[in-house]
């Protein structure tokens, strides 16, 4: 394969910090995010030639966003594979830039999941937004009351059965995320919590409790990705893309062992491309839709063996200063989760690699290489996994 390391860099970012925004449209949030991210990079509207977006609510999201922004991009990608879509976008932007098709790509997302009252995790069929089931696979699944949280809970139950993982170990993930959120002034929930708080919260879908589940917020953001020539003249130190891996996991005609998730396929691809090892990773942004998502993802990314994730996440090891700091913004479990969260993984990884929090407890000391892994869809049926590895000079 062509060496794609450092063929593109994240040069501009913006997080729309709103957690509740009933007065703004999703396109306005994206527009404001794109403008601010370009300002952050020191670039302008005229520099943008690639447009990347995903949405579960905006029809024809690529076309409608280009129309709203009055942009005429030469490269458009609205790959929508759930919450991890934006790691796929970065992977695709890397390839397009390396091939010389474009020089500056914008990735953006927004959602009004909270002000719109969307039951993201427990909406059942309502999560599709349409009442008629497709002949397959819906018609062999939705008759039985699937929910998103239920599909993750089934994998949590199986994990507990096979490996002895406990609710208390899962709760450790929530506790670590809340600790990080306490240092993020924009986080939705900032008061410290304990393992007991999590395991005593009400059960949503056994064995997952309310506090094993991510929050539901509004929000959005944008990422600007550029060629090396452009990146070297931007305002911030470039955050280079070292590697990217994509994968889909599904039921495999009824025979796949879904205890192994898409990260199991995408992670080796990203590490091989990047030419780094797990010991080189200073911090990770791991999609935390639910606590079990983090345990499963860390295992299948290869940070520990399958079945050892419960132990790996315990004892503060995920906090800054621990063995592998993850989700230093507080994650989806405490900070924000507007329907899809993958773009925020790229934003926080970039902030860490820029050393934006130097002098505070949120900064991972001397952060040089970060990994982000987005999961979209549901562990128990089918989902996407996008792994990216990022580095500063």
């Amino acid at each position: 394969m062509v060496d794609l390391r450092r063929a593109a860099a994240i040069v501009g970012i913006h997080e729309h910090v709103t957690r509740y925004s009933p007065d703004k449209s999703e396109l306005q949030i994206q527009g404001e995010s794109v403008i601010n991210a370009l300002n952050d990079a020191g670039l302008t509207k005229d520099d943008v030639d690639g447009l990347f977006t995903a949405s579960s609510s905006i029809r024809n999201s690529g076309m409608n966003l280009a129309d709203y922004l009055n942009l005429y991009p030469s490269y458009v990608d609205n790959t929508t594979v759930g919450g991890g879509s934006f790691e796929f976008h970065l992977s695709h932007a890397l390839t397009a830039i390396a091939a010389g098709r474009i020089n500056v790509a914008v990735i953006t997302y927004s959602s009004l999941a909270r002000s719109g009252g969307v039951s993201v995790g427990t909406g059942g069929v309502g999560r599709f937004g349409h009442p008629v089931l497709d002949p397959s696979p819906d018609s062999f699944e939705e008759l039985y009351g699937l929910t998103t949280v239920g599909l993750y809970a089934m994998i949590a139950r199986r994990h507990m059965h096979l490996y002895g993982t406990t609710s208390e170990q899962l709760a450790e993930v929530s506790v670590a995320m809340r600790h990080h959120a306490s240092m993020n002034p924009e986080a939705l929930f900032r008061d410290p919590i304990t393992v007991e708080d999590v395991v005593n919260s009400r059960v949503i879908s056994d064995p997952l409790h309310l506090m094993d589940c991510c929050v539901i917020t509004d929000g959005g953001g944008a990422v600007v990705v550029a060629s090396p020539e452009v990146a070297r003249n931007c305002r911030h130190t470039p955050v280079w893309v070292l590697g990217a891996g994509e994968a889909i996991a599904h039921q495999g005609a009824g025979k796949r062992d879904l205890i192994y998730i898409a990260a199991h396929q995408s992670s080796p691809r990203a590490f091989e491309m990047a030419g780094v090892t797990h010991d080189d990773i200073d911090m990770a942004m791991v999609y935390d839709s639910f606590t079990i998502t983090v345990v499963e993802t860390l295992e299948d990314l290869g940070f520990c063996k399958k079945g050892e994730g419960g132990e790996f996440v315990s004892g503060g090891r995920l906090q800054v200063g621990g063995a592998l700091p993850i989700n230093t913004d507080g994650g989806g479990l405490s900070s924000n989760h507007p329907g899809m969260r993958g773009i925020f993984l790229l934003l926080e990884a970039t902030r860490q690699l820029r050393h934006q929090f130097d002098g505070t407890g949120r900064q991972v000391p001397d952060c040089k290489i970060a990994l982000a892994h987005g999961t979209g869809g549901a562990l128990g049926s089918r989902h996407s996994g996008g792994t990216v590895i990022l580095a500063r000079d």
Binding site: T122, P135, G145, M154, I155, S205, G254, G380
Partner: protein, 137 residues
């Protein structure tokens, strides 16, 4: 039997019609590929393994075990909102394929991974009969 079915109903395509026709007769059928000797679930018009066309319908034993499950306490969808707590499960049939279902006719607290179960049917409408699983007799 049931006059007002308020849960979602399947849509039926040509490739899945034999399955739903069999359910109406109280038979659980799955597909088997003559070319690569593989069972598959869910039903489809091709073999998902070798992409061949020689898939045929075979009757499943209707017996299997619970591969995993969850006791659902919250679902906003009409039909399920009134039903909580209910058991959503993946059942592994004796033929080796796993399918989504509900475990019915038992206390949700009694369900466990590895539990032996067998198929049972509920009539949703005159056209649609839906397979579920219950503890093996």
């Amino acid at each position: 039997m049931t006059t007002t079915w308020n849960k979602p109903l399947p849509s039926i395509a040509g490739e899945t019609k034999p399955f739903w026709d069999s359910c109406r007769r109280g038979q659980l059928v799955i597909q088997y590929c003559e070319d690569c000797d593989e069972y598959q679930w869910y039903p489809r018009g091709i073999c998902a393994d070798c992409w061949g066309e020689n898939v045929r319908w075979v009757q499943s034993s209707g017996r299997g075990t619970v591969w995993t499950y969850t006791v659902t306490q919250q679902n906003r969808t009409t039909g399920f909102a009134e039903m909580v707590p209910y058991v959503l499960a993946l059942v592994e049939l004796e033929e080796g394929v796993r399918m989504f279902t509900n475990i019915v006719e038992c206390n949700p607290r009694d369900v466990h991974i590895g539990m032996a179960v067998e198929v049972t049917f509920q009539t949703a409408t005159p056209q649609i009969t839906i397979p579920y699983f219950k503890p093996a007799g």
